[in-house]
Amino acid sequence: MSKYYLNYLDELESEAIYILREVWAQFQNPVILFSGGKDSIVVTHLAKKAFFPSKIPFALMHVDTGHNFPETIRFRDDLITSLGVRLIVGSVQESIDTGRVAEEKGKNATRNALQITTLLDAIEGNKVDCAIGGGRRDEEKARAKERFFSHRDDFGQWDPKNQRPELWNLFNGKHFEGEHFRAFPISNWTEMDVWNYIKRENIEIPSLYFAHEREVVWRNSSWIPNSEFLQLDGSEKIETKKIRFRTLGDITITGGIESDADTVEKIAQEVAAMRQTERGNRSDDKRSETAMEDRKKQGYF
């Protein structure tokens, strides 16, 4: 085989860097949507590589549900400081307080859907014309349909039936005032690729991804972490288990799995043998068959 070919991970990295640079060149005010999860950490790492030795030319935008793992916030703040980039926070609590949205009620209440309004308000309020996300097409069937450069109308909505053609690597980010784009540099990565890349690049990630003893409760077929926001019903009880999280999101709905994987190598091995998708543990996707598509149409991540 000729020596002039890239292995798959180098090719994916190169594609992502290319997309990040296109975003920078085509938009006035792009931001990285930063959740504190591994995918947005990887995107941030790729942005660092794409523009080195310049600083990352984007602000990081965090949509804060107010239901955080404290570790996520600490991790976020340390990263911001070390990169020297600006942080923009969109607060769901503020959206509730100002009456933009109403809190869901009951045991299974989440702030997941409320994030849409906060996100769109933050995009509009900060005049953001492109929000870069860590979404991957292998995560979910509606995401499998997403373009690299994905258009949003002036209500922030996605129209999956009428997406712009996207040919070769020629991206068309043209839009009218008030509209914006979402860009997905790691669209073509799988969960496995992300872990292999974290391992190869030695990227720091929050300890939540590693197996630790934690207080949890069994709900909707996964281990939900104990927190000040958790409401137990009569039959549920708090237990201590060795748990790690495959994805990080709102603490009230992010389910963990039992695991002994306490290093990136072990996680990568575990992921390779996994028979369930990572979002299989998220109750926000279980609400209906097209839950993700419906949320994405309204403007979700």
Partner: protein, 417 residues
Amino acid sequence: MLDNNQLLRFTTAGSVDDGKSTLIGRLLYDSKSIFEDQLEAIENTSKQKGHEGVDLALFTDGLRDEREQGITIDVAYRYFTTPKRKFIIADTPGHIQYTRNMVTGASTANAAIILVDARHGVIEQTKRHAFIASLLQIPHIIVCVNKMDLVDFKEEAYNKVITQFEEFSSKLLVKDVRFIPISALLGDNVVNRSENMHWYQGAPMLHTLETMHISSDINKVDARFPVQTVLRPQSEQYRDYRGYAGRVASGVFRKGDEVTVLPSGFTSKIKSIDVNEEELDEAFAPMSVSITLEDEIDISRGDMIARSNNKPEPRQDVEAMLCWLHNDPAKPRAKYTIRHTSNEQKAMIKEVIYKIDINTLNRKPEDIQLGMNDICKVKIRTTKPLLVDAYRENRTTGSFILVDESTNETVAAGMVV
């Protein structure tokens, strides 16, 4: 898995209902690339819809409307890995109305799987997709003759489709065409060899995809580097750094190479090739790097760096094959934005030379109305020179899109001839 595994990107093609999505579902299922919760979800959906077995097309047909109508509307991307290779699949729609989405999925593919229903043979939409695949210069084409279970797995039915396809494809520019008789529904010759077609001696589809030689598909001769953006750090340490960031479109660049910057024509030498904190001796397609030069030259986005002894001709008049992708027909002499590599200009369709009749591949010089899904040869004039190569030599510097300025929509895909 081997760390030096290569990526193969392939696309499905063929008429509506010929079984593309079912095939991808079958491929993922039989290669054990489907997660339990995904399988459970589509088992439930299949049951709700009253299907007998599991409808494997649901693995890719993920949108509400697709599931309601039982067709694919937009490309779905799926991923899977075998010990030999890593794959990116684009499952595209067969319906003519969504041809633009088929072109989207096919434009970056190394291989195309064209499905033909054994009962119906090669029909107009098969021809359209085969023609688009050849126009896009997808290097490898696998024609899967599907639904063999519905023709009693008869060799004659298979041979009939081969004859039809070859009659048509002899007029196309395709180098590597193979044929496989399959049943996507039952899995014959997808991952596992068929028990029902002992007359077929060739390999099943997955094996074919795993062993296909793809390293030589990239142009390694003509070094081209379109500049995406200029890196000028504000820091003390890198005060004088001026890096030209981009992705190598083709060929190889080495430290010390004599280069010419286009369109200005200034020459210099490559001082360094950088990725992050690392310095490289050489960069080749499709690597994203940052290049610094020995001399201070005014370079900005849209410029191209090429080796001085091999550079593209700047051209303001370009002949190209154009694939029209929008409901609004082309407006003669109207201005469009043309995007070519990292360059953007104004352009005008000066002349439609002929339209192609998809069924016969005949040229129709009298029919010069450019509407949705039409494929034409055109003359384009741009306000400033473009740095193009012929598409058949270079898929990156030979391709462009047209954007309608009044709607911002991408309306056409162009390939320089």
